[in-house]
């Protein structure tokens, strides 16, 4: 511990603490611009200069580690003058005129810094050089004239996302933020995660949807979780007058630490589907608006003859985007009360069932996602983390500069290939052969037969096996998109390989409540043969073509959904429900963490939550459902510990 004195305040801080952090601990705020808590200190803008007793010049607080008995002054005239001078230089470098800037008012960190120093004007006039505006990206605009060259975006792209799209070209006043080697953002390697937009301190990167629709001081914010997949990233939903304005990553979120992908940040903003706003019943061939009471009566009337009729009864399928509590109620109603033999989820156990089978004997064998952060070697197989569960891909990619070896195994070139020299492109559906080849190489027996089958040379197999064998913290991130007939065997040999290598296993599974649906055994393949009625609890999910086809000839179809779709068009009864932003509920991440999603928006008046609808069906059946969903999901052994 070091003893320090900051503005006459004595404080003790651990060795290695920066002056900025030490000041924070002492409750003294030092202004910053290029610094951001989620990024490594950079020392670019110099706004945080402080006086250190004995030092010849002012020192940047963000990068300077404290030393014992250091005496720091943050409020001297010299420091204040330096701050004003630095801000004047930044203001006069490009076009920083507030009246026509999107972030002016409360969201601009440059403006706020000037206010803090009480600046009414700046004495140096700009040189009026116009810089280009890059509006080529579908989700945001890069306005170079507002850029202060702090490099937060560049560092976020590298340190948080590992994508290295953004960089700087030229020197001095000609320095320009560029994508790749100077191509328009829209045609660059950008993956549209938008972390750069969120972290930009000025109006240089502006999001198209939220621009000019209200600033932080005008909008309300709700902390919740993203339901785009099963990673469970923390988000902040910004809304104004019940309109969705923007989705930001939650910097305090334990799982994601503020990063988000396009699925979480931008795709929900681009919602183009038509909303269902009233219950409807088919009359004379067309869907007609009715009251909830009438709609539910029609459902009950048509269900009654088929209760407990098993294969001639009521088939039911629910979205894995629904809350865990709702899924449990739904299961009880359709399986136990209505006695259906076909109660499942839209995922049909595709990503999870085979894993549960192994968990039955072995107990939980998967690890937490956070193990990725500690890994020195990571192999991915059976999935593409640059397409789905992208944030897990960010976690992996950002480790590469520090030396973590990444081995993506896939059938074709993927977004990971540019970042690692160890990409393995194997023959289609030959994952099993690849794993067997590795296994043989590790055991020291001839791997050539398997290697040949997998399309990888024996030499490469030996090299990868060596790499895996020499790692200290090996993580295997796997999916189950393996050839159907060999799925079980492939997973089995992967588990065997992991055991041999002492590797941690992680699978990101499917949608937001993939694991919850699996634990509730909503994992059957969906088949409608002879069923006389069907109930689809779709929520805000898009129905797949396969499911629409399977339901084609059902005599009586009920769809509980938020949006119009090809399926609701065929339904006999349509029950309108809230979308993900309009309801609360519990979600279990792919690694077993239980999280609460909070309601951020009010739903249209005649729309009920998924929970209300399921409970009102229970009510009609005169039953009370067991509400203890959290015990129910732990009844069966799970693939990963559920907390």
């Amino acid at each position: 511990m070091y003893q320090l004195k900051i503005d006459d305040k004595e404080i003790e801080v651990p060795e290695g603490t920066t002056v900025l952090k030490a000041a924070g601990m002492a409750g003294i705020e030092i202004p910053t611009l290029c610094n951001h808590p989620a990024l490594e200190p950079y020392g670019g803008c110099r706004l945080c200069l402080v006086e250190i007793e004995g030092a010849r010049t002012l020192q940047p607080a963000c990068t300077l580690p404290v030393s014992d008995k250091m005496v720091i002054k943050t409020q001297t005239e010299k420091v204040k003058d330096a701050r004003k001078f630095i801000l004047s230089m930044i203001f006069s470098e490009r076009n920083h005129f507030c009246p026509y800037c999107q972030v002016s008012g409360s969201d601009c960190e440059l403006q706020n810094a000037a206010y803090r120093e009480g600046m009414t004007h700046w004495p140096i006039q700009p040189n009026w050089q116009p810089y280009p505006v890059d509006a080529s990206h579908p989700y945001f605009v890069l306005e170079h004239n507002r850029c202060i060259l702090c490099r937060r975006c560049v560092r976020a792209c590298a340190e948080l996302v590992g994508n290295f799209t953004l960089g700087m070209e030229e020197r001095g006043a000609n320095t320009l933020l560029v994508a790749d080697l100077g191509v328009p953002l829209g045609s660059s390697s950008c993956i549209s995660c938008g972390v750069c937009v969120q972290i930009c301190p000025t109006g240089a990167l502006i999001d198209r949807w939220s621009a000019y629709r209200g600033q932080e001081k005008d909008v309300s914010s709700t902390k919740t979780i993203c339901l785009g997949c099963s990673i469970g990233c923390g988000i902040e939903v910004l809304h104004r007058d019940n309109n969705l304005i923007k989705i930001n990553g939650d910097w305090d979120a334990e799982i994601s630490g503020g990063v988000l992908c396009d699925v979480g940040r931008f795709i929900p903003m681009d919602e183009k589907r038509n909303r269902l706003v009233t219950p409807m019943v088919r009359k004379d061939g067309a869907l007609k608006a009715v009251t909830w009471d009438e709609a539910l009566s029609v459902v009950m009337e048509n269900f009654k003859p088929f209760i407990n009729k098993k294969e001639n009864g009521i088939a039911a399928i629910a979205s894995t985007r629904l809350p865990a509590d709702v899924l449990y109620y739904y299961k009880q109603i359709f399986e136990e009360i209505l006695g259906s033999n076909m109660v499942t989820s839209t995922e049909e156990g595709r990503y999870t069932k085979v894993l549960s089978e192994f968990a039955e004997d072995k107990g939980p064998f998967e690890s937490k996602l956070s193990e990725i952060h500690k890994a020195d070697t990571i192999m991915t197989i059976g999935l593409d983390l640059t397409k789905d569960h992208q944030v897990a891909g960010f976690f992996i990619k950002r480790l590469i500069p520090a030396g973590t070896k990444v081995i993506p195994v896939s059938y074709e070139s993927s977004g990971m290939d540019a970042f690692t020299p160890h990409s393995m492109i194997i023959e289609r559906n030959q994952d099993l052969a690849f794993i067997q080849a590795l296994d043989a190489a590790l055991t020291g027996v001839d791997s050539s037969q398997f290697a040949e089958k997998s399309g990888i040379s024996t030499q490469e197999i030996t090299e990868i096996a060596k790499l895996l064998d020499s790692s200290k913290n090996l993580v295997i991130v796997y999916g189950t998109d393996f050839e159907a007939k060999q799925k079980r065997e492939t997973v089995q040999s992967l588990l065997k390989l992991a055991k041999k290598l002492n590797a941690k296993l992680i699978s990101p599974k499917g949608k937001a409540n993939s694991l919850a649906a699996e634990q509730l055994k909503l994992n059957k393949p969906f088949n409608v043969n002879g069923h006389n009625a069907a109930y689809v609890a779709l929520g805000d999910e898009d129905p797949s073509q396969a499911i629409i086809k399977k339901l084609e000839n059902v005599p009586f179809l009920v769809v509980q959904a938020s949006y119009h779709s090809a399926l609701t068009a065929k339904a006999d009864v349509v029950l309108p429900v809230t979308n993900w932003l309009e309801q609360s509920g519990y979600y279990i991440t792919c690694d077993g963490q239980v999280q609460l999603a909070n309601k951020s928006l009010q739903s249209p008046v005649d729309v009920k939550t998924n929970k209300e609808v399921v409970l009102s069906i229970a009510d009609r059946l005169k039953i009370i459902v067991n509400p203890v969903w959290d015990k129910a999901v732990k009844l069966e052994k799970s693939v990963v510990e559920i907390e």
Binding site: C98, Q111, T120, H121
Partner: protein, 179 residues
């Protein structure tokens, strides 16, 4: 003691800052009890008294030779010069044209605008010559900068009442913030 004389003028601005001055509403009467408002776009006098005023207020940036003359005249006749609003303080919205050449701006304004037919760039020697748009402080010394687009009526009231009572106004915190 006689009331301090105040003169105001506008240059390359939109008159919004003077509108904001009028927006101080009934407090205008309190201000007028304390000051003697002389030349101003809202009075009949057009030039600050030759004998001088205590406070000169300028709205707008300086975008031609006529503005230059106005600013210099005000400076020479006042003790304390106030730059009122973002155009006077920074150049403001008119300064957007500084990113183009004057020829480009003139061509756009007099010839290329969608509603113009047979346009031409006026060249009458009596007209002021356009220049780059400058903040007032680039041409003459400014004592008090009041930023804002426009500065709110409350800020203007604060500035005038402080000056009327012989104090140099301090513009900070809420009075400084953009609204």
């Amino acid at each position: 003691m006689s009331k301090p004389k105040v003169a105001t003028d506008w240059m390359a601005g939109c008159a919004g800052c003077h509108m904001s001055l009028l927006d101080i509403d009934e407090r205008l009467l309190q201000v007028l009890e304390l000051i003697d408002l002389r030349a101003s776009p809202i009075t009949d006098l057009k030039e600050a008294d030759e004998s001088g005023v205590v406070v000169g207020v300028l709205e707008g940036g300086i975008n031609n030779t006529a503005n230059e003359h106005q600013a210099k005249l005000m400076r020479s006749r006042c003790k304390i010069l106030v730059a009122l609003g973002d155009c006077a303080v920074f150049g403001g919205v008119p300064a957007m044209r500084n990113f183009f050449t004057i020829e480009e701006s003139l061509r756009r304004a007099y010839i290329e605008t969608e509603s113009t037919v047979d346009g031409f760039i006026p060249t009458d020697p009596e007209l002021a010559v356009p220049t780059r748009v400058r903040a007032v402080s680039e041409v003459v010394l400014v004592d008090i900068h009041v930023p804002g687009c426009p500065p709110s009526a409350d800020v203007i009231f604060h500035v005038l009442s402080e000056l009327a009572q012989g104090r140099i106004p301090e513009i900070k915190d809420e009075n400084l913030h953009w609204h």
